[in-house]
Assembly symmetry: C2
Homo-oligomer: 252 residues x 2
DNA sequence: TAGGCCATGTGGTCTAACCACATCAACTAC
DNA sequence: GTAGTTGATGTGGTTAGACCACATGGCCTA
């Protein structure tokens, strides 16, 4: 392919040129989180490409959780740099689960691996553990429904993961959870007795948190592994099955 | 936003509609790896959207490693479904490293975690270990340059990760490696004596592989952790530093 | 029969136009 | 003077239509 207007060979597609430019701006520090990209029309003119190509690049960055695009005027408008690795990893994992080339069993296994490491490396006094404790208190309330309980459960486990202080592990944990949320909620229907299960989960949560706060990382790791594997075993994890339709669950 | 031609509220952007349709086709099994998407113009007509929106969706899927687009006619032409989770995760991680919201130290730590788990769960007789052994033999040759050695090193560690048989861990390992390749090769320049380092790395590789083949997962995990941490420590990992420019390193 | 050539269909790119939206400044009515 | 209205401006979102390079395959010619 020959780059338009210019007479030298260009193996890149145009939107990749734009991506490379933006990534370079990020690397060089001229563009940082919270900063704004030039308007699409300006950027197109600046890079001598069409607005179409600029938009394709921005769509990719948006799907990667690197930028957020907003219409209108004001602080929420324009294309601003963010940093949401979880969104990108989650979408990618979910799509590949849909192609059935990433077995759900492998995702669960990886989750056990990451979360075990996280609880065994969590700092006992970290604020994330205080959040986790608050979430447990909410879950102990009698008037939480199944959906609310599961939502709190997700936040509890993410708080545990965050307590280890590793951004990559946190992002991967979040993305793994996101990619199998559909499964998890369907699995709940398989449970013979939700109330009994909920009571057990509550007790296990408290045990895990106590172990972490007592600085007993090894015990916490074992407890959390049993906790996760036990839940999926009880609910009957069907590895390699099909994913339910989620029409209102966009990639971004 | 009101969906064009139709009089009901539609909170999705048009390209997300296309993404949802394609993800649904994948989930329902009507589209599988190796299959082909309808031509962009056909798909646009079928979904009553513009070709631009279809293309934006395909760009995202391409960046996610879910499809591959080829021009012309014949078997390599058209948009065909693939499954390359590593590409997606790697691009995402690299971009977020560029935004300096994912510390390189966290990536290295995560790599240690995943790879330790992988070697401790690798099956001693798996074919991936035979590949790893072949790679070690190549690395033992005297006439391999630094770059070739590092390339073989990457493949050796990926083979180890694959031996555990978890697709998610393999993909994450590959993406972590990809996201810090720039760093790793720059770090080499910091080494005081490459020949000595290479000799040490060779010996450590053989030790790791031997432990795996002897079914001593615990020892293999410790060796691989020391191996990785030792290398980065010797080369002087600068956490939070800036990434060098890679103009010919497209996202896809 | 062998070679060249063009019709066909693919993705890649560009242009130009319109829309919805959000802000802000200027203007108008009270 | 103040409050409300209104329009200009600039943003991303979407569309239509055109042209290009490319790869195949069938047709036609020598």
């Amino acid at each position: 392919m020959w780059s338009n207007h210019i007479n030298y060979y260009c193996p890149m597609r145009t939107h990749q040129l734009v991506l490379a430019w933006i990534e370079n701006e990020l690397s060089e520090g001229r563009l940082a989180v919270g900063g704004r990209l030039p308007a699409e029309r300006s950027l197109a003119e600046q890079l001598r490409v069409s607005r179409t190509s600029v938009r394709e690049a921005i769509r990719i960055l948006e799907a990667m959780g690197v930028v957020r695009a907003g219409v209108g005027s004001g602080p929420d408008a324009g294309t601003v740099v963010i940093s949401d690795p979880t969104a990108a990893l989650g979408s990618a994992l979910r799509l590949h689960v849909a192609t059935q080339h990433l077995p759900v069993a492998d995702i669960v296994e990886t989750r056990v691996l990451l979360e075990s490491w996280a609880v065994s490396h969590a700092k006992p006094g970290s604020p994330e553990l205080a959040d986790a404790s608050r979430l447990l208190a909410e879950m102990d309330s009698d008037d939480v429904g199944v959906d609310a309980f599961l939502a709190l459960d997700v936040r509890f486990h993410l708080a545990l993961a965050d307590a280890a202080g590793n951004a990559v592990v946190s992002a991967m944990m979040g993305s793994l959870r996101e990619s199998i949320t559909g499964y998890a909620s369907r699995l709940t229907a398989n449970l013979p007795d939700w109330d009994a299960t909920a009571a057990r989960l509550r007790a296990e949560h408290h045990g895990i948190l106590a172990a972490v706060q007592n600085n007993d990382g090894e015990r916490a790791a074992k407890l959390v592994a049993d906790h996760i594997e036990g839940y999926y075993k009880e609910a009957g994890l069907a590895s390699g099955g099909t994913v339910p339709v989620r029409p209102n669950h966009p990639v971004i």
